[in-house]
């Protein structure tokens, strides 16, 4: 039986009826058309579906839409439009820290969480923090480089 949920997604109030079994990422993609969060494994390993719920990054495939009732949800589209991840995006573009781009939204949100916790991470700390996000294309080095660069930019007052 569908249940009604109300939540805030990227600053907009949303009310919808959803099946209890529907994952948060499927709800965002299929119901709201926010297709920036990707579905890679549906068992919480790859990180492509990473979104923010109540300010914390979660796996959108392991979170049910009904669990987000009343929550504040943010996706890659939202943090792009707000400018929050502009420094990371600029560094990723400049360093080519993405190839196919399927993992990229999850990596950007994860890197954002890292830089909030630790504004000056070492390369090893970046690698460790991102070790729950698959990237099959880049070999990770470009991503580590870009996160390092973005951290410097943000520490210098940019974002």
């Amino acid at each position: 039986m569908d249940r009604e949920i109300s939540l805030t997604v990227n600053g907009e109030s949303v009310t919808a009826r959803v099946a209890p079994r529907k994952s948060l990422v499927d709800f965002l993609r299929e119901t709201l058309g926010l297709t920036g969060s990707h579905v890679g494994c549906e068992h919480g390993v790859c990180g492509a579906c990473t979104v923010r719920v109540g300010g914390e990054i979660v796996r959108g495939c392991l979170t049910l839409a009904v669990q987000a009732d009343g929550a504040v949800v943010e996706t890659v589209e939202g943090v792009s439009d707000s400018g929050e991840i502009a420094a990371l995006q600029a560094a990723f573009l400049e360093r080519n820290a993405l190839q196919c781009g399927f993992c990229t939204p999850g990596i950007l949100l994860t890197a954002t969480a890292l830089l909030k916790e630790n504004p000056a991470p070492s390369r090893e700390e970046i690698r460790e923090y991102l070790s729950g996000n698959y990237c099959r294309c880049t070999g990770y080095q470009a991503i580590v480089d870009a996160v390092e660069t973005a951290a410097e930019t943000i520490r210098g007052g940019g974002r």
């Binding site: 099946a19 079994r21 529907k22 993609r29 926010l34 297709t35 920036g36 969060s37 990707h38 579905v39 890679g40 494994c41 549906e42 068992h43 390993v45 790859c46 492509a48 996706t75 890659v76 589209e77 792009s80 995006q89 600029a90 990723f92 573009l93 400049e94 360093r95 080519n96 993405l98 190839q99 196919c100 781009g101 399927f102 993992c103 990229t104 939204p105 950007l108 390369r123 090893e124 970046i126 690698r127 460790e128 991102l130 070790s131 729950g132 996000n133 698959y134 990237c135 099959r136 294309c137 880049t138 070999g139 990770y140 080095q141 470009a142 991503i143 580590v144």
Partner: protein, 791 residues
């Protein structure tokens, strides 16, 4: 953010050899790409498949009466019904002499031959409803003995997978060059070993996905696919669905990783297309991760026994026996004989020796199918060769770098041919080797290694010399009857805005195809990068072409872009000369303007020129027929392939108590001819190396003796993650191919080709003082501890 438009002084050709960011990366960085699963259409239906739980079984009965009553179910189809709408295919090519396979159906008919083979398709309003219905379908199977072990696949007692084929041997090839027996008899040392290479798979982060949209009104089929080869798929859909090929359109927008996985004919995708035609509505199939592991092609399941002879400090002979199991079918249309064939071609390919004997056998099994995955055959060939080189060096007391230095083709030896028959136009093994040894400080590392060994720390250095097949000519597939274009074209159009649009048949999966094409077009026409738009991935709007595989994008479409840009430039200058009453030879195009070639003074902008041509053609002199569009094609003809070469080195530490390997540093020197965008090339190499490291250390599709895949989840099938990967330093030597004006060769697969060999050699180098060696990859901690006698 991006480079500023280049100044006039920088042009011409200034974008070639320059790092510029990828314009198409911006949308991906905002989550605004368009992957196939992002597309919705009116009346879109979803298909899910009931798949065989057995590796080998007779289908006795199928009952889907209960499933048909489930909410949202639109149609349920089994194999015999599906075969009326989608004809079976056979994965053979005539140049793979003797290759045999059996007809493969979109849904199994009568018998299932691997765990994961699709048996019943359920179409429903949603994927969840389709899966609900699957659970109610009753299939009665009679399990048959499964052919799992390739070593016994040809035994008389082993059941036949396709009785009509007479045996389980799909393909066999033999090579015998020079006098192998004499070379071994005369050798200073002979080393021999048996190697095992694990079956693994591509793990594209975006699973395979196909959205077929048949419009019964105009009888046209549009298929949105995550694919590397849209024109090839257009032909295949037409042939097997019985529709006119001209009525099929294949669109590939963003593709979430491919690596050779998304270039084959998959039964579930064929079924989805057939269902769209049957139901006259759009139907989508999206593989879930379990389906990816059990139905995306696998690769690399090889057992190789090989030996090498060394005399006077040089390699003189190699003999090899390669056995590989490919699953129950040779995959269509590229065939599953190619990997073994490549192994036979490539073994020893960097070394100048004359005596080579090899046999390769490709056998059928009841496991998922195997076919071409990034660097097809190369990782096996170089793992075998390079392991033997290290063993041989040890046997004759030489440094492994020294034996390579003595044995590679000399840089002044070209053109020349390998013992296997491969033809080389121009390579740089000697320069590349010396550059690598300097880059990594080889002697310094050897000293460090020796000092650390005194302290009980076991570090190893692994070298891997390699070559790579790139820029394939029609000799790769077309000659054998495959409808796969070896030729690619680029059409460039100048619009009244002064903007330039380039359309090409090669495709983008994130490697930077569109950026590379834009760089060449901007340079050859004479406009800023920002003025160039590139169209790929649509059979309706791009020149007919092969797509992206075998590292062909830059070398083949890049050359077409260069020639097409030059042709458009010439057309524009002819118009400008007529308009300006000037000599075309004294004009030039720079930064979007026609200028006097000598003074650089602006004469007319391309925008103004194009506006005149399109809007006010009456102002043009009589007799002028302006063509602001040009197309050129390119296909290599002198050489079957433009080989590249490279050498890789790995520096790692083995924990001899736990068997864990820590990668410390990695170096690559690569010669891919003219480099168009250094950053894109280096990142292709890095990403490729990391996939090769995955093969060396982590990745293996584990099967039990019933043919059940045991680790078909991302949690169980391990791939390289950020924390374990080293930084990779890259150097270049450039030997452009003289066959094209651009001189570019491919770079997409080199990393994957050499990395397993370099990592395995480094592990064995670390273990050598303990008298241990590992001859199987992935070199897991378990295998290392077993080699050390600790397990």
């Amino acid at each position: 953010m991006s480079d500023k438009p280049l100044s006039i002084q920088d042009l011409p050709n200034s974008y070639i050899g320059r790092t510029v960011p990828r314009p198409n990366a911006r949308r991906l960085l905002e989550g605004r790409g368009c992957f196939v699963d992002d597309i919705t259409l009116p009346r879109l239906a979803h298909v899910a498949f009931l798949r065989s739980p057995y590796a080998h079984a007779e289908i006795k009965s199928i009952d889907f009466a209960a499933a048909a009553d489930c909410p949202g179910v639109i149609r349920i189809v089994e194999g015999r019904e599906m075969a009326k709408h989608c004809t079976p295919w056979v994965g053979v090519l005539s140049h793979m002499v003797g290759l045999k396979s059996a007809p493969q159906y979109a849904l199994a008919v009568g018998r299932v031959r691997w765990q994961g083979e699709p048996v019943v398709a359920v179409v429903a309003q949603s994927r969840a409803q389709a899966e609900d219905a699957l659970a109610l379908i009753e299939v009665e199977y009679e399990e048959l003995p499964a052919v799992v072990d390739m070593e016994t696949a040809l035994d008389a007692a082993t059941p036949l997978i396709h009785p009509e084929l007479g045996d389980n041997l799909a393909f066999e090839r033999k090579v015998d060059a020079g006098d192998v027996d004499a070379a071994f008899a005369e050798a200073d040392a002979v080393v021999e070993e048996t190697f095992h290479y694990g079956r693994h798979t591509g793990v594209t982060l975006e699973p395979r996905v196909t959205l077929a949209d048949y419009n019964a009104g105009d009888r046209k089929l549009t298929v949105h696919m995550s694919s590397q080869a849209p024109h090839m798929m257009k032909n295949i859909f037409a042939v097997h669905m019985g529709i006119d090929e001209d009525d099929v359109r294949v669109i590939c927008k963003d593709v979430g990783g491919s690596f050779g996985i998304k270039i084959h004919t998959y039964p579930d995708e064929m079924a989805a297309v057939a269902l769209s035609i049957m139901l006259k509505r759009p139907v989508k199939f999206l593989a879930d991760r379990l389906e990816s592991y059990t139905s995306d092609i696998h690769a690399r399941d090889h057992r190789v026994t090989a030996k090498m002879a060394v005399k006077d400090g040089r390699i003189t002979a190699i003999e090899m026996d390669d056995l590989t199991g490919i699953g129950p079918y040779s995959v269509y249309p590229r065939t599953s004989a190619v990997e073994c064939n490549q192994v036979l071609n490539l073994v020893g390919g960097a070394y100048d020796f004359a005596n080579y004997r090899a046999v390769g056998r490709v056998v059928l099994q009841n496991k998922n199918v195997m076919c071409q995955y990034r660097a097809v055959g190369h990782p096996i060939a170089f793992s075998v060769t390079e392991a033997l080189v290290d063993l041989a060096a040890r046997a004759v007391g030489m440094d492994p770098a020294e034996l390579r230095r003595n044995s590679v083709f000399r840089d002044d030896a070209y053109p020349c041919a390998a013992a296997s028959g491969l033809k080389f136009e121009g390579l740089s093994h000697q320069k590349s080797l010396e550059k690598l040894l300097t880059l990594m400080d080889y002697d310094g590392l050897r000293r460090e290694q020796a000092e650390l060994r005194e302290q009980g720390i076991y570090r190893g250095i692994g070298l891997a010399t390699m070559i790579e097949v790139t820029n394939p000519s029609p000799m790769f597939y077309g000659i054998g009857g495959a409808h796969i274009s070896a030729r690619d074209g680029v059409t460039i159009r100048l619009d009244p805005t002064g903007g330039v649009t380039a359309a090409t048949g090669v495709t983008e999966q994130g490697q930077g195809t569109e950026t590379m094409i834009a760089q060449i077009v901007a340079s050859s026409v004479g406009v800023a990068m920002e003025k160039v738009r590139v169209v790929t991935g649509d059979t309706e709007t791009t020149p007919y072409g092969g797509g992206t595989w075998a590292s062909r994008g830059a070398g083949i479409a890049g050359e077409a872009a260069l020639q097409s840009g030059r042709a458009l430039r010439s057309n524009i200058l002819d118009v400008a000369a007529a308009m300006l009453q000037a000599d075309a030879a004294k004009l030039d195009i720079r930064a979007g303007k026609v200028v006097d070639a000598d003074s650089g003074a602006e004469r007319i902008t391309l925008s103004d020129l194009a506006k005149t041509v399109y809007y006010r053609g009456n102002e043009l002199p009589d007799g002028i027929s302006p063509e602001l569009m040009a197309t050129r094609h390119y296909s290599p003809r002198q050489y079957p392939f433009a080989f590249t070469n490279g050498i890789q080195a790995c520096w790692l530490e083995v924990d001899v108590e736990t068997g864990f390997v820590k990668l410390l540093k990695y170096w690559v020197v690569e010669d891919c001819g003219t480099v168009i965008n250094p950053q894109l090339v280096d990142d292709q190499i890095r990403g490729g190396v990391v996939q090769g490291i995955g093969a060396a250390l982590f990745e293996k599709c584990e099967y039990d003796d019933q043919g059940q895949m045991l680790n078909a989840t991302m949690a169980d099938y391990l791939v390289p993650m950020a924390a374990e990967m080293p930084d990779i330093e890259i150097g270049h030597v450039a030997t452009p191919t003289a066959e094209s004006a651009l001189g570019a060769k491919g770079a997409g697969e080199a990393g994957t080709a050499g990395a397993p060999a370099a990592v395995a050699n480094a592990i064995n180098d670390a273990l050598a003082p303990l008298g241990a060696k590992v001859n199987a990859i992935p070199a897991t901690p378990e295998r290392i501890l077993m080699a050390l006698g600790k397990l």
